[in-house]
């Protein structure tokens, strides 16, 4: 059973379009992270959200943590080819627990 479900698994859109990726769970997380991974490389942290309802922006990327801290979304405005990659959400269930649980990922392709 996957603790963190991401949807969609694959997404291919044209440059300039907007998109949203979702990360859902039945568990409550003390914090949730989004990573981006490019082929042949390790994941790189994009953002951490810790407060229910929190919204963080990173240029054209907007991250939101659900009010109940069970879900999160990543919205990209005016997608560019450089946004192509595997997006992973990860959550920490307990404060003081150093382990993260990762979702299965969304593979995003932006077509020029």
């Amino acid at each position: 059973t996957q603790l963190l479900e991401q949807s969609p698994q694959f997404l291919s859109i044209q440059e300039g379009e907007n998109l949203t990726v979702y990360c859902n769970s039945s568990s409550v997380f003390s914090s949730l992270q989004w990573y981006r991974q490019e082929p042949g490389e390790g994941p790189v942290l994009l953002v951490t959200v810790v407060t229910g309802g929190e919204v963080k922006k990173l240029k054209r990327l907007t991250f939101q943590f659900g009010d109940a801290r069970k879900d999160s979304s990543l919205h990209i405005t005016a997608a560019q080819p450089g946004d192509t990659g595997l997006y992973l959400c990860a959550g920490r269930i307990l404060v003081g627990n150093e382990k993260l649980t990762f979702g299965t990922g969304t593979r995003l392709t932006i077509i020029p």
Partner: protein, 113 residues
Amino acid sequence: DAGITQSPRYKITETGRQVTLMCHQTWSHSYMFWYRQDLGHGLRLIYYSAAADITDKGEVPDGYVVSRSKTENFPLTLESATRSQTSVYFCASSEEGRADTQYFGPGTRLTVL
């Protein structure tokens, strides 16, 4: 360069052989982690370590052994490799109390024939 490195980057071995994957970090981070990444499963935690000589099992530890005699190194050994251990292996590190921010190495692609 400072950071987290893994070696080798690619490895092909045969069933039953022992294989050791190396991980080295230069930040003196307390925590280090080993994950495997497989299609349809995402990243799954194999073992982690809170400090030198302190290790603990993750989600999928069977068939793997770790050690951490020095803070900067965290080798992962497959004692008798099986085909199901074909995967991409990632090492990561984080500061104590900062598990939210893990830094990943570039990965080792292991193929077991």
